[in-house]
């Protein structure tokens, strides 16, 4: 016996391939959406891994520093350092902002860190680490900065001395690492006009500007302009110590919120990108339905175009199951072409996306199964139409 489906496909291969191509692009989009979600999860993991921290200490009752804003005093790290089991503790700041590259804006997450401490990017793809305590920066390659470029952040310029990779915020913005003091200033410092205004107001307040107390006004002014806040303290626990136990101690004694890596991952994946994930999930559902509709429509019209042939086939003694098999095989063939085209296009255009697109083999396998199931379901409409064809219609009225 010959394959009726195969012969029909060969006979009208151009129509078949074009339809498969269209379907494939749609499947490619679907794979890419799934890849974007996987990329977001992976970005979060890479972010946590590269920070080199075991514990994140943040403001009490917050989910900071990534999911909620958190502000703690910058001397807290010292007392944490003194706690048993803590190997390293360092301040970090995070601030999403537009940084300037020449005349253009780049959306970036500016990270303030202390060199050699947790929070410093784990590896560089080019250049060197930040060695001076001011006006040097390490930027993620996605920001578009090159070694030696100038980055303008607020009132200061920074020179890019190193480049890192895969360091992006949960929103996908590339990170720019600058020394902590500079970052604190960028984040918390008021502008000159505001400082002058504040000083005039303080001087006009008789409670703060007392003639009999020399130095009080200066002290107040100094405390207003200096700033001692950071967003989080990253802690690395000593070898052989349980991060969970150390975290519990910090929480108990310092009245601060402490998250270990697992909890942080949970916050990033389950809370921070949950809305994006739902959005992508919605797209996946819609794209699946659209793909199903396309396959159903094409197979259905192809079958309707063969109604007379099907009547003849039935009249001369072709089994219903042979005819159903023919239609099913065509639907699956279409799915196969679509899957192959989709997989290839997603792989080709994935790197061009602004966010990291992670195409997992497991997703491809799941996608393949879903495509085949969808094609099978989509073919039922056409199969039903074909089975309803009365062989008597082949004989004229």
């Amino acid at each position: 016996m010959i394959s009726l489906a195969g012969r029909d496909i060969l006979h009208s291969w151009s129509k078949f391939v074009l339809t498969g191509l269209g379907l494939g692009l749609l499947i490619g989009v679907t794979f890419t959406m799934a890849g974007v979600y996987r990329g977001m999860v992976d970005d979060a993991k890479v972010l946590l891994n590269n920070s080199g921290a075991d514990l994140w200490v943040v403001q009490k009752d917050t989910l900071g520093p990534y999911a909620e804003s958190s502000s703690i005093h910058d001397d807290v790290y010292r007392s944490i350092l003194g706690m048993p089991g803590v190997a390293q503790a360092a301040n970090v700041t995070y601030l999403a902002m537009q940084v300037r590259r020449g005349s253009t804006d780049v959306r970036a997450m500016v990270v303030g860190f202390e060199p050699g401490q947790p929070g410093e990017p784990g590896y560089l793809v080019a250049g060197r680490r930040v060695t001076r305590s001011h006006y040097e920066a390490v930027a993620d390659v996605k920001s578009g900065f090159a070694l030696g470029d100038r980055i303008s952040i607020r009132r200061h310029d920074y020179r890019v001395v190193g480049l890192t990779r895969r360091m992006v915020s949960s929103g996908g913005d590339p990170m720019v690492f600058i020394p902590l003091k500079d970052a604190q200033e960028a984040q918390f410092l008021k502008d000159n006009d505001a400082i002058v205004n504040e000083r005039i107001r303080t001087a006009a307040n008789p409670a703060l500007n007392r003639p009999g107390v020399p130095g009080l006004l200066d002290a107040i002014n100094a405390s207003q302009t200096s700033n001692h806040n950071v967003n989080a303290v990253l802690v690395r626990v000593a070898e052989g110590r349980s991060a969970e136990m150390v975290g519990r101690d910090i929480h108990r004694w310092k009245h601060l919120q402490v998250f270990d890596r697992e909890q942080m991952e949970e916050i990033l994946v389950a809370k921070l990108i949950a809305t994006s994930a739902k959005q992508i999930g919605m797209f996946l559902v819609i794209l699946t339905i659209v793909s199903a509709a396309i396959v159903a429509f094409i197979i259905y019209t192809m079958t309707l175009g063969k109604i007379r042939e099907i009547a003849v086939l039935k009249l001369i003694g072709t089994h219903n199951r042979t005819i159903a098999g023919m239609i099913l095989q065509q639907a699956l063939g279409l799915g196969l072409i679509g899957f192959a085209v989709g997989k290839i296009t997603a792989t080709v255009w994935g790197p061009a996306f602004p966010r990291y697109v992670l195409l997992e083999p497991g997703d491809a396998l799941r996608g393949f199964v879903i495509v085949m199931v969808v094609c099978t379901l989509a073919s039922t409409l056409a199969i039903r139409a074909a089975l309803k064809v009365d062989p008597a219609t082949a004989i004229g009225g």
Binding site: I2, L315, I316, I395, G396
Partner: protein, 237 residues
């Protein structure tokens, strides 16, 4: 067993619908066609020709009567064959008004499909198809697409298909309707040749005046009743 009979119909009736709107399309029809014989079935529109063909072709069920095919009773007030699909496949050849070839199969496989459906190996089925295409003078088109054939060639391929499983009977439904006089007569010549070569009983439904004189025997059907007539039996050369 009646070995001398290709097909025999006795007292066959067919009623469409029921009650007040019932139509008696066939009323106690009798007919018999010997192996190797080509008979005409003529009659005005609405007289019951198609209905009779569909009953014989086992695609609609008669209401009453008896039908014998190649010596076997296939209908006796009820079907006597459990699988009508297999009956149609193995023992009845169909020729339609238009060739109705399967466009996605080449000429050989259009013919070979029938033996293949009957479970013959591809090689054997194709060999048989080629033999028939040779007999019908279209073997040179064996590898062609059906759309590349002329109308006459297509009709010959469809005749080869009807013969492919060596059925004892072939039912032809206005096979010459779209053809001009020469081509119509050519088809009749081929049918007569094939009938005697393969000892097939052939029933040709027609109201084509051009070919009516070619039948030696005719059944005239009027208002659901058949009347046997002697034909002119003009020789076809």
């Amino acid at each position: 067993m009646d070995q001398g009979v290709g097909i025999r119909i006795e007292g066959l009736s067919k009623r469409y619908g029921a009650g007040e709107t019932a139509v008696d399309a066939l009323k106690e029809v009798n007919m018999s066609v010997a192996p190797g014989e080509v008979v005409g079935l003529i009659g005005p529109s609405g007289s019951g020709k198609t209905t009779l063909l569909k009953c014989l072709g086992a695609v609609i069920e008669p209401t009453r009567g008896r039908m014998t095919l190649g010596g076997d009773v296939i209908y006796d007030n009820a079907w006597k064959i459990s699988d009508l699909r297999v009956l149609r496949r193995d023992r009845i050849g169909f020729i339609f008004q238009a060739p109705y070839l399967i466009p996605f199969l080449d000429v050989t496989d259009n013919v070979a499909l029938l033996p293949m459906l009957a479970g013959r190996p591809n090689g054997e089925a194709r060999a048989r198809a080629l033999e028939l295409l040779q007999a019908l003078d279209v073997a040179h088109r064996a590898k062609a697409e059906t759309s590349e054939l002329s109308g006459g060639e297509q009709q010959r391929v469809s005749i080869a298909r009807a013969l492919a499983n060596r059925p004892p009977v072939i039912l032809a439904d206005e096979p010459t309707a779209p053809l001009d006089s020469d081509r119509a007569l050519a088809v009749m010549r081929i049918l007569n040749q094939m009938a005697s070569q393969y000892q097939t009983a052939i029933i040709v439904v027609t109201h084509d005046e051009k070919i009516i004189p070619t039948f030696r025997r005719l059944y005239n059907i009027r208002d659901g009743r058949t009347f046997e007539e002697a034909g002119v039996g003009r020789a076809l050369v």
